[in-house]
């Protein structure tokens, strides 16, 4: 038991060290690298906290896709680094902020050390209602049954973020292709990887989605892997991002939320409420929602990384 605690403490110290380095290091690019390792370490912490679903999400989205996005941005912003480094904040501001941040941390730490006993939980309620959802993974049940409304709204957040990113395009380039065009390399190692990995990745992504009903995994984690495969293909120059005006692309992007909304509305007619599933049909309906959702999320994540349209079609 104490050995496990020592490992946990070591992990916590490592997380803090990497985080401090990320904040303190001078070069932006180095800070982003620090952040990616911070995310991977956090994923380990989630495993230690027995939250494997969260660990998968953290590794895939919190560290993985966010990392790609930030690395690409840091690389493009390199020319500004010198000028920005000259704008050091004043010592007084640093000092006051440090004190305030320390107070917040200390307050939160005190709350951590003074836990409420017994800790309130909805675990029993979540488990007791699992049979009605036909699912085995209670986290998936929270996401797609008990609190499906949250998840539906969060899909809207993703669509809006993409619309927001696109809206930054200059007028003349509207309808063009997002992001830079990566040159096709004929025999690079990346090309090799981009040819070999996607079939495997697609299988793994679909597996993640499927297994999410009963075990850790689900639509998000699966779709992140699909998105990663797509990003890999684009970066190797084997494919190109589609123009943002394409009808089929728009349909792919909203298919998931649309089906989700439609199933939710059908609850008025075939079940007792909005977003309710009729008895016995919960699991098939949840899978009906999750399949297009995975596709839509994958496309949205990939395009969010690609950025606004930058090239005429």
């Amino acid at each position: 038991m104490t050995l496990a605690l020592a490992i946990d403490a070591g992990l916590a110290v490592l997380v803090l060290a990497v985080a401090t380095w990320t904040i303190a290091v001078r070069k932006t690019f180095a800070a982003v690298v620090g952040f990616v390792s911070y995310g991977l370490l956090l994923a380990l912490v989630w495993v230690r906290l027995l939250a494997v679903d969260v660990a998968l999400t953290e590794a895939a989205i919190g560290s993985g896709v966010t990392g790609v996005l930030l690395l690409a941005a840091a690389a493009r912003l390199r020319p500004t680094e010198k000028g920005a480094a000259a704008e050091q904040p004043g010592a007084a501001l640093c000092f006051v902020t440090a004190i305030l941040s320390a107070v917040v941390s200390a307050g939160l730490a005190a709350l951590v050390l003074l836990p409420t006993n017994p800790a309130p939980t909805l675990a029993q309620a979540a488990v007791a209602n699992l049979p009605a959802t036909g699912l085995g993974n209670s986290v998936t049940a929270v996401l797609l049954a008990y609190r499906a409304w949250d998840t539906l709204l969060e899909k809207v957040v993703l669509v809006l973020a993409l619309l927001g990113v696109w809206s930054l395009a200059p007028d003349a380039l509207w309808g063009g292709r997002p992001g830079p065009r990566y040159p096709a390399q004929r025999d690079g190692a990346l090309v090799f990887l981009a040819q070999l990995l996607p079939p495997v990745g697609i299988v793994v992504g679909i597996y993640m989605l499927w297994v999410g009903a009963n075990e850790p995994g689900g639509a998000f984690q699966g779709s992140t892997i699909l998105a990663a495969m797509w990003i890999l293909v684009v970066m190797a120059g084997l494919g190109d991002a589609p123009p943002v005006g394409r009808r089929w692309l728009r349909l792919v992007l909203v298919a998931g939320p649309m089906v989700f909304l439609a199933v939710g509305l059908s609850g008025f007619a075939i079940a007792e409420a909005f977003l309710a599933y009729p008895v016995g049909y919960a699991k098939p309906l949840i899978i009906l929602i999750e399949v297009p959702l995975t596709l839509s999320i994958a496309a949205t994540l990939g395009l969010l990384v690609a950025g606004p349209p930058e090239r005429a079609e």
């Binding site: 605690l5 403490a9 916590a12 803090l16 985080a19 990320t22 904040i23 800070a31 982003v32 952040f35 911070y38 912490v45 230690r48 906290l49 027995l50 939250a51 679903d53 969260v54 999400t57 953290e58 919190g62 966010t66 996005l69 930030l70 941005a73 493009r76 912003l77 020319p79 500004t80 000028g83 920005a84 704008e87 050091q88 904040p89 501001l93 902020t97 305030l100 941040s101 320390a102 917040v104 941390s105 200390a106 939160l108 951590v112 050390l113 836990p115 939980t121 909805l122 675990a123 979540a126 929270v142 996401l143 008990y146 609190r147 949250d150 809006l160 973020a161 993409l162 998000f220 990384v305």
Partner: protein, 113 residues
């Protein structure tokens, strides 16, 4: 002391670190990084609460775990939008800072966070 407490303290410290970075850094990309770091700390604190709610044969309360997953996705969306704004600003002005390009009369002071 349990694992949950250790990671709870870690989360508390991460929140402070993230807040510090968010206010002190002047480069927007560094602010975005700090925001993500801060978010990680917040999620961790929430995760500790989930862990402490372990019951009914589960290793943790699934409700906060689901909320954290939603939160991670929302944070990613925010990061994507913010990064796109920074890059666009860089394309327009050749700079990626917020200091000197406020409109006339907006009176930006030193503390732009």
């Amino acid at each position: 002391m349990s694992a949950a407490t250790v990671f709870g303290l870690c989360g508390a410290a991460l929140v402070g670190l993230g807040l510090y970075g968010l206010v002190v850094h002047s480069e927007p990309l560094r602010k975005i990084l700090a925001f993500n770091l801060l978010g990680g700390g917040v999620f961790l604190l929430f995760g500790v609460i989930a862990r402490r709610g372990a019951a009914a044969g589960l290793g943790g309360d699934p409700v906060p775990q689901a909320l954290i997953i939603t939160g991670i996705v929302v944070a990613f969306s925010a990061t994507a939008l913010a990064v796109a704004l920074v890059l666009r600003l860089f394309q327009e002005t050749g700079r990626a800072t917020l200091r000197s390009d406020a409109p006339v009369g907006a009176r930006v002071t030193d503390t732009d966070s």
